[in-house]
Structure formats: structure tokens, C-alpha cells
Amino acid sequence: MRCNSTLFLVMLFASTYSAASEPIKVASKNFGESYILGELTAQLLEQDGFDVERRFGLGGTLICYEALASGEIDLYVEYTGTIEQAILKLTERASIAELNERIAEKGIRLLEPLGFNNTYAIVVTRDVAERNGLHTVGDLATARDLKVVLSHEFLEREDGWPGLAAAYGLSSQVVGMEHGLAYQALNDGEIDVMDAYSTDGELKRYDLTILDDDKGFFPEYLAVPLIRKDLPARAVAVLRQLAGILDDPGMQAMNAEVVFGKRSFADVANEFLVNKGLADERLIVDAIWPNLVRNTLQHLKLTGIALAAAILVGVFASLAVFRIAALSRALIYFSGLLQTVPSIALLALMIPFFGIGMYPAIVALFLYSLLPILRNTITALTTLDPTLIRVATAMGLSNREQLRYVYIPLSLPSMLAGIRTAAVISIGTATLAAFIGAGGLGDPIVTGLALNDVGLILQGAVPAALLAIITELIFELIERLVLPGHLRVEAAG
């Protein structure tokens, strides 16, 4: 008995320890609803004392899923339709249980759906619905003279309008329009019918009516937490509290709060949890700043580590080979070749070796940074005034001492120029790292490019630009400290 209780204590300690040291990594995809759901799960876990690390805004289903399968993240909220089609490539509808069975071998499981179904919807204003007696999608077939406007994507996808029209025998003349503009046009009465996602915040805001898809044409996209099987039982129990808790209007309302109320994901998620009695109220600061800080820090980390490595390797390699012209040339050619691999291809090439996330991004950035550093260092070292080198030799400085006291200080301006160029180019290139889930300021840029959201793009581009300027300033400071004084003397005179 005594023995057992000791064991129990050890296990308790171990689990506490692991909870304390290894945070649960919660991810989201890079669109609003997914961020909110990420916050919901994250805050729920935090409420229960878990340590949570947010890895939000990953670039798509595949990256999320791969990250989960490889254990780089512990959970995220996915949609059943997506699991069926994009992940498992099934052609028929499958139940949650069936999905769970098929996905089990990857060490992953689905929890119960949250409740809402985020699928395509055909919507009209309440006014239009009443005047035309519209209840189901099929009712559109008889209603005449309705202006139907659809988003370009919905128009083109066969599981969008073409299929729907076939299924319900619709023959309306339709026009394509930007999704964002269509809501406004609908509200202004300029158009009558449009497509939407069933949880769009606009549905609530404009009090729109969803026409019933009574033939079940649109597949189900139920939100479900997708978790690693090895998640602690207590965490699973905590997450289970979300089962069936959130219906379509609820999700619409939260999306609307974010889009129209300009509130942060975290804030909206917290309010929901408080209302459900699942969490205490917390003070949440405006989300733009923490995001910005987090992205900037991550960006700094990516470029900082890559640059530090490139400086180390570049400078040492240069010092090692510069006396041998052929080797110097080979080194420069090689790092030049790396530059000709397009950045996206290079990042993609890294995945087999380093997986997704920070490491491949750092390796790629490191490789890109080498050329300017190597070339400038080698050029400077090989074009020094040979008289001074002869003097250094004559005085009795060893090779190493010559490097330290003559070559390096005299090459420093050119060397630093190369490093600064590499640093700034890195800051630019690192925005691509978001493509493989490495985060950083590319996150808002990539998301912004995808969503055509200029504000979001600027949330990445402006700090990146500032970072470049600050980097320049810091290097100027460093130069002031390390540049041989005689240059400063001249600058003054």
C-alpha cells in the first residue's frame, strides 16, 4: 500500500510537472471564426489551470492537420465536411463515429460537435422573403424577377450554384459580385438573393433569412475539436464541455461582434464562456497589439536566429577560405546557387527535412542570408592594402593575430554592409515563412492577401518595414561601437 501511494505521488507529480512545463498547443486556421474557436478552447483550458500556447493562423487545412499528426500542435477546431473531403478524401458522408474510426490511426480523435453548421447558405432579406413567400431554396424556382448575385467562387464551384441550380431546378439569371459588397447591396435592396456562409456575422447584423436547404444539397460542416489522443484526460473532459453549446445564431453573433463590433477574438470568446458559466470574466486588451507584438517577436526570432547563424557561418567561412581564391569562389557560387531557388520552392524543399514551422523557415532564411555576408567579407579581406599585411607579418603577428587585429577591423565596414543587407532582405523574406506555419509578420500579410484585407496586410507590412528601419538604426549603433575609430575621426573632420 505504501509502495502504491508513493507511485501515485510520483505520477501526480509527473503529470503536474508535465502540465506546468509542456503547455497545450492550441491552433487555429487563418480566418476569423477559426480564431474565435481557437480562443474558446484555449481559454476554457486556461480556466482549468492548463498552460496554453496559441499557434493561431496556420495556413490551411493541410498544415493544421499535419502539425496535429506530427504532434507539433495538440488541438484545433475543424469542420466535419473538411475532414471528410480534404483530410480523409471520402466520397460519402460519414458519421462522427466513422470519422473518428478512420482518423484514429494518426493518433487523432474528434470530440463532439460544438453544435453549429458552417456551410453554404442562400439568403434573402426578411422583407424579400415575406413579399415573395420564400422559405426553401426550391421556392426560388417559382419566384420571378429576383436579382440573384453570387460570389465568384460560389458561382464557379460545382458544389456551389451550378449543382444547386441543377438540384432544385433553378433557372434564375445570376451575376457575380465581391462577397463583401453583396451584403451591402442586399441590405440596400439593390439585389434580392445571395450566397453566404451560414455563420457569417452579417446574417445577424442585417437580419437576413436563410432559405432552407430541404433537399440537403449543401454538405454538413459541423465544427468539432480535433485533438491528439494523448491529450491528458482532464483536458479532454474540459473540452467536452463545449459539446452542443454553440448554435448557428450564436456563432453568427460572435462573428458579428468581431467584424462589426470591432472586438477582439479573445474578448468575444471570453464573453461567451462567461455567459455559459464556463469561465471567469477576464480583462482582455485590444487584440491587435498583442497579436502585433507576438508576430513581431516571432519575426525577430526567425530573422534573428537565421541572421546570427549566417553571420557566424558566413564570417568564419570567409576567414577560413579567403586566402584560397578557388575555395572562395566555390563558396560564393554555392551560396549564389541557393539564391536562385525561389523562396517558396526552398521553403517547400525544407519540409521533408525539417517539417513545418520555425525550423525550416530559419534554415531557409539562413541560406538566403549567406551570400551578401560571404561576398562582402571575402571581397573586403582580399582587397586590403597589402603593405599593412606585410607590416603585420614583419612585426611577428601570427595568422590568427593578423585576422584579429588587421584583417577583421579593416574589413569591418564592408562586412557590416553585407550583414545589414542580409538582415533587411531576411526581414522581407521572412514574411513568406507564414506559408509553412512559422508565424511572424507574414501571418497577417498572407491572411490579408488571401482575404484581400488591406488592413490586415498593413498589420504585417508596416511592422516589417519598421523592423527594417529599427534594424538599420541598431546596426548604426553597433557600427558606432565597433568600427575602427579612425573612420569616425574622418567623419567628424
Partner: protein
């Protein structure tokens, strides 16, 4: 009597122009006695600087052998060998990126001297060379030509080398300051028995400081021996001209 430097049939050529290599030193046979100064005098371009650089192995002879303190120049650890030879470069040759003090004390620091010792020696040298302490933190470019040359001399003397190679060390120094340096130099040599090779264009300087005189012309030794012997019995027309000019 041991020799501080010995040249045994040394040839040295440089390549310039399309005519192939040109002999700058041609069959040099010389022995410089230890503990005294050997002055090397000769035409501009006759190979004096080349001769010095063969001694501290900055240049390799094409033929023949150079021996220093009766030993061949070592193949390895040349930096140790060179540090025992103080070399004052023609035209100062200071490192532009180091302050004048750093130029002077660099080798002592690398040798691991303690700071107090370095500072003491530095101050003594500066005073001997008639330099004010305010040159210390300036860069060579901020000094006059003669000041630079004297900083270069301090650098050569810093480690108390057994052998000094002085390549026109006083050419940019005014005569009055120069006399002071001569006196310090002779006192140190008498006291410590330092050997020196002094390249100069000033026959009076050569006669005053050297116990051995070498006259070079077009890469060949015209005459060598104690200064008085050379003055009294010039062995060559050119030497005669030099002697006349000296008077």
C-alpha cells in the same frame, strides 16, 4: 665573434615589366657583427629595404642563405622569430585603425606583458623619442610625418628586441630631435648590447652610429668594413663620391 646577421650568396629578384625578373640583390656575402650597429648606405633602389626584409623573412631569398644569430631562419613559428627582431618600417607603416598607443603596445599585449610594465615602457619610449603624451589616443593620420616615424620606432623597440632593423628611421625627424634620439640609442646599445642594422642616406649618421658600414649599389656590395676604413680607403668611385659628399 658571433654575427647577428649573415648573408651567404643571397640573390633576390622581382618581376617587373615584360623583361622577366630583375635581380635586385646579387650574390650578397655579408656578416654583421653582434652588439654593434651596421649601417647600410646606397643608392635609392639599390636593394636596402629588400635586404632588411630578407633578415626577418618577410621575403625569401631566391638563392643563398640568410642566417640570424648564427642559425638559419626557422621554417616554423616564424612569428616568434620575428618578434625578437624589431623592425621600423620605411615611412612608419603604422596601422591606420589603431591609436598610436595601440600601435606601439600591440605586441607587448600579445606577449602577455602586465599592464603596468607595458605602460611604463610605453612612457619611457615616448619620452626618448621626444613625443608628447597627447599623441597616445590619436590615430596615426592625425600626426605629422616625423611624429609618425617616431611612433614607428617606439613600436620597433617595444619588446626590447635583440636585433633592430631600422629602415631610414630618422629621415623625417628634425636634426635637433634626432641628436637626442642618437644619444638615447647609443646609451641603450652600450647598455643592452643590442645589434642593429641601420639603413640611411645620411653618411654622417652612418659614421656616427655604426661600427660597420656597408655600401650597396645596384644590388651589389661595393665595400664594407669599419666606417673609418671606408672613409680612408674608398674602394670604388661611387664610394669616393659618397665620402666627398659627407665632408
Amino acid at each position: 665573434m658571433t654575427n647577428c646577421v649573415e648573408f651567404r650568396g643571397v640573390d633576390k629578384s622581382f618581376v617587373f615589366g615584360p623583361d622577366g625578373p630583375k635581380k635586385v640583390l646579387d650574390g650578397i656575402e655579408l656578416r654583421f657583427p653582434e652588439g654593434i650597429t651596421t649601417a647600410v648606405v646606397g643608392e635609392s633602389g639599390s636593394g636596402k629595404t629588400t635586404l632588411l626584409q630578407l633578415i626577418n623573412a618577410v621575403l625569401e631569398p631566391d638563392a643563398g642563405e640568410v642566417r640570424v644569430f648564427d642559425e638559419p631562419i626557422p621554417d616554423q613559428h616564424r612569428e616568434k622569430f620575428r618578434r625578437r627582431i624589431g623592425y621600423s618600417v620605411q615611412g612608419a607603416g603604422l596601422f591606420p585603425h589603431m591609436t598610436n598607443r595601440d600601435n606601439v603596445v600591440l605586441l607587448a599585449k600579445l606577449e602577455g606583458w602586465i599592464d603596468d610594465l607595458i605602460e611604463e615602457r610605453y612612457q619611457v619610449l615616448l619620452a626618448e623619442m621626444g613625443l608628447a603624451m597627447d599623441v597616445s589616443n590619436r590615430y596615426p593620420r592625425e600626426l605629422s610625418g616625423g611624429q609618425q616615424q617616431r611612433v614607428g620606432l617606439c613600436r620597433a623597440l617595444m619588446l626590447r628586441p635583440r636585433l633592430l632593423l631600422l629602415d631610414e628611421p630618422f629621415s623625417a625627424v628634425d636634426p635637433i630631435t634626432r641628436i637626442g634620439i642618437y644619444e638615447r640609442f647609443q646609451a641603450v646599445q652600450d647598455h643592452e648590447g643590442v645589434s642593429a642594422v641601420l639603413v640611411t642616406h645620411d653618411m654622417r649618421e652612418a659614421v656616427r652610429l655604426a661600427g660597420n658600414l656597408v655600401i650597396l649599389r645596384e644590388g651589389k656590395v661595393l665595400q664594407h668594413g669599419p666606417p673609418q676604413d671606408v672613409l680612408n680607403a674608398p674602394a670604388h668611385e661611387y664610394v669616393e663620391m659618397l665620402v666627398k659628399e659627407h665632408l
